[in-house]
Structures are given as C-alpha cells and as structure tokens.
C-alpha cells in the first residue's frame, strides 16, 4: 500500500494527475488514498517532488 508521510504533503496535486484509477482525494490541506481503489502502481510515489508518498509492501 501507499503511505502518506505525516506533515510532508504540500497538496500540489501532481499525484492526482498521474493516478490511473483516480484513487487520491485531495482538498486544500487534506490528502487521502482510497486503499480499495489503489492498485499500488507507485506512479504517485515517483512523481511527488518532495517524496511525500512511500510504498510499503
């Protein structure tokens, strides 16, 4: 699963733009990944400019 590191996200939306199943919900200062929809493809991990997201097997 993809883990969001606490207090790291800047809410820029780059991850949302590349997410194939649209599993990321992003508000002004809130980010959530829907585990049921997420396919663990890790594109969000790679595109994040400040390594907020992390894959944990």
């Amino acid at each position: 699963m993809i883990i969001i590191k606490e207090n790291m996200c800047d809410f820029c939306g780059a991850c949302v733009a590349v997410c194939p199943p649209d599993a990321i919900e992003l508000r002004e200062a809130e980010i959530r990944i829907d585990e049921d929809t997420c396919t663990d493809c890790k594109l969000c991990v790679y595109v994040c400019p400040i390594d907020t997201l992390e894959y944990a097997a």
Binding site: D10, F11, C12, G13, A14, C15, V16, A17, V18, C19, P20, D22, L26, R27, E28, L43, V45, Y46, V47, C48, P49, I50, D51
Partner: protein, 401 residues
Amino acid sequence: MKEKFDVVVIGGGPAGCVAAWHAAKGGASVLLLEKNRSIGPPVRCAEGVGDDGLRLIVEPQPFFIQNRLEGIRFIAPNGSAFEIETEKHGYILNRNVFDFYLAQLAAKEGAEIRTKAYVDSLLLNEGRITGVKFQALRKSYSVESSIVIGADGVESRMGRMAGIRTQLKMKDVESCIQYKLANVDMDTLICNLYFSREISPGGYAWVFPTGEGTANVGLGISGEYGKRYAPKDLLDRFVARLFPAASVLAITVGGVPVTQTLREIVKPGFMLAGDAARQTNPLSGGGIVSGMIAGKLAGQVAAEAVQKGNFSQNALKEYEKRWYKAEGNYHKMYYRLKETIYKLSDDDLNRATQAILKLPAEKRHIINIFKAVLFQKPSLMFDVMILFKDHVKNIINALGK
C-alpha cells in the same frame, strides 16, 4: 445562493477567472468555485510571462508586476551560454495579486465567486452535464447550469468526472520544485534557463529574478526520471552551487503537464480549460498565458451558447476550433521540439551551444538555433523532418509572430 446559473466555472486560477470574466461579460450568469480558502495562494508557478502574451488578455499594470525582464539566457551543461534576441520584453508577475485582479474583473461583470468550495460531483442528465454538487464550509449545495467549465488545474478531476481521459503519462509531466530565494547576486533583467541532464534530467532549471536580490529558482524533471531522482535534492545541489549565500523564503512544488492538448476538451454541457485540459506550452511548461487564452475562448463560446440556447457538444466544439487556431496547433510543434531536445546528451548540448555562439546575435532565432542543435546530432534529423513536414506553415506563422 441561486440554484441555477448559466455557467459554473470550477477553479479560480488564471484560466478559470478569465473564463468566468468573459462568460459574464458576454451576458451569462456565472458562478466561480475555488477549492482553497482564497483566490491566489498557494502560487505554484515561476510567474514569468511575455509582454505580447499578457496583452492578449489584460494590459500590464505595475501593481501586479514584480519585475521587468529584457532577455532570456540559455546555459549549457559546461556553463557556456547564449542570449536570445527578443524585441519584446517579459515580466515576473506577482501571481497572488494578479489572480486576485483577474477574479475582480470577473466579479465586476457580475460573476458570483465562492472560495473553500470543493466539488464532489457533476450532475448528469441523459449524457449531458447539467450542474455541480459542492461543499463550502460543511454545507452542501446543488447548482444547476447549462455549461460547466472545468479549470481545476493539473489534477483535472472535473474532466475525469465528465468522462474524459485526463491521466498524464509519466513522460508528459514535469515534477517541479521551486524556492523563493533572498540574498542572491544576479542581473535582474535576464532570466536564466539551465539545460543539463545532471541538473534536471528531462527538464530544465530556471532562475527568474523577481527583484533586487531575490529570485524564483526551481527545476523540473520528467516524471519518467522520478524513480531515480528526487527534485528537492537536485535543487538543493543547484542552489548550493549558484547561490551559496542565499536563504529560502518559500518552497513550492507541483506537477506541470508538458504534452499536447487533450484529444477531447468538450462534452455536452462541459468544457475544460488551462492545465486541466493540458493546455500548457509543452516546451516551456508555461501555462499562464495559454491558460488565459483558453479561458477567454471558453468563456466567450459559453456566453454565445447561452445566447443561442444551444449547449450541444457540437456548439461547444467552436471553443476547440478557436483554441487550436490560437495556440493548440503550435503546441503540437512545441511538443515535438520538447521530445527532440530531451534526447540530447550533455555533450550534444555543449556542442550545439558552441555552434549557436558562432551565429551573430541577430541571427539567433529559434529556427537557426534549432538547426545548430541538429547539426550536432544528425540522427535527430528524421524526427525533425517529420516535424517540418507537418508544421512548415506553423513555423512560418510562429516566426512572423
């Protein structure tokens, strides 16, 4: 709050504000929704625009301009550099103030604006988008509309909700980070672009002076290199080398689409504009002017559709047509150029720069520069022949611009 508007615009950036402004100016009742608590911040942008591009939308005003620029300098991996002769100057905007100004223009024409408004879903009726459901400060609203304009930025959720495939390919998104630096020592009249795989693979680094001693300094790497490189580490290294005495006053990050316009930007009762439609210039990643052009065209077409009472996909396709004529066709060419340039190694770039430096300054137009690049790498000639075949007319037009 009213339950029905002619046009609902989602997203209060330059594309959305200009769309709302022009739709309202054309006589439509308009609601503009912004997700964040304020129009403007957070600004995820290097804030540079050309004078001629800006003037297509608004007159330059001192209160929203931080700095005036007189040239662009390109820096090769080995440090050799050349400047492009530009007759037209450019500006570094103050985007917070600028976006506020655009929203005010929309408000002046009668557009209603709601901030802290998060859209949950689009209303659909028999294949047509007929409105939006949104939350604002914990209250839920349902608003009907004849046309929805999605200008929700790189995320482009509205497009997905409308049934358009908006997902960016990794090679077509730049993963960017920028610092606002203070205590930098540089010429305030020139913006600098650094091309080097070592600095920023599949992208470039920029130094935009924002005033005496301050600059927006950032870089983007292609998403396809995101697995191997961390943009923040690359930027820290770049800044330590160039401006060791500088302090970071602000950090901003973001994804920038560097691709062609989405195949579909119109659905029945729906239009996409700006980053959401992938209408950024794919060569530069610049999106302010092209987003505003798209917003203006979308707003105008929306107002015309309201007047005629025709909101079919066909009627709204007029927006698509005008977009390609104004910008979209050039973006096809810029995309090819981007693909070619990022195939060059650092050695290729160094040699090309030497060749460009041999050109007299007044001959350093984009085409001559590109020719110089190509002679260093004849294997790229094939790509470019395709480019020229498709776009000879565009290139000629672009040169005349």
